[in-house]
């Protein structure tokens, strides 16, 4: 461990803001790239299922 205390870890010798903003952005982009396709999949399957039900009714 390179830091003695939590506040030292957060401060990063004055570079805290730069480091944490970078990591926050990185983590947000990674999570977004996993969550967004999962959400798209849910919508896609819902829409396809609705369309198939409609087709079955008209037949």
């Amino acid at each position: 461990m390179q830091f003695e205390t939590i506040s030292e870890f957060i401060d990063m010798n004055g570079h805290g803001l730069y480091v944490w903003v970078s990591y926050g952005l990185g983590i947000a982009i990674i999570i977004g790239n996993i969550v967004l396709p999962l959400f798209t999949r849910k919508e896609l399957i819902k829409n396809l299922a609705r369309r198939m039900r409609r087709e079955n009714k008209t037949q």
């Binding site: 830091f3 990063m12 004055g14 480091v19 903003v21 990591y23 996993i34 396709p37 999949r41 396809l48």
Partner: protein, 251 residues
Amino acid sequence: MAVSKWIPRWFYQLASPRWCYDITGKLLPVFLVAAALLLLVGLVWALAFAPPDYQQGNSFRIMYIHVPSAILAQSCYMLMAVAGAVGLIWKIKVADMVAFACAPIGASIAVMALATGAIWGKPTWGSWWVWDARLTSMLILLFLYLGVMALYAAMDNETMAAKAASVLSLVGLVNIPIIKYSVEWWNTLHQPATFSLTEKPSMPIEMWLPLLVMVLGFYCFFAVSLMLRLRNEIIRRERRSGWVRELITSR
């Protein structure tokens, strides 16, 4: 198709959307666990345990997400161009879908590389941005991704869109060696390559080992995101085929 005994069976099977859907379904959990573990270990290691740089202090910890994202943004571009070429030459639908899935991931990762680079540049160089060869060629990479995405969005005909996007990504491939050698060809503020296959790393092992973990984690994360998008695209384009209809009704 005559199956040559020199080319393994799975190579032909890759061209089948259904087979691709099934195999990625099996691979997804493996890569998801690997990505989560590697990124978690890498993050803790990079933030708390790696030694600070003797000149840059703790701001150098940004490297652990800047370098992996820059490497991944370029690898993703190469995959997109190769997949586009395969789709263009052999008319393989799955290859077109892979290229299509690469573009948004690559664009967001290029944004990550540029943004973390800018944030790192401020305390290190004293400036968010300089019009230097490495930074400019990286910005062009982002614009190439956006151009490919715009082409897909502008064309309704999927085959035509895939053709146009593949040609653009193949032309843009010339940018990749420019990014790589920009730090050698032009005078620059940017430091030279962090990793090289032929030389020993310029950093001590306790600095580059967490970086290696992060790079591997980023690749696994990319595999997960790519497979998720690819599977969505397979379902969307194959929605009229029997197996997708079965898949939808069985849920």
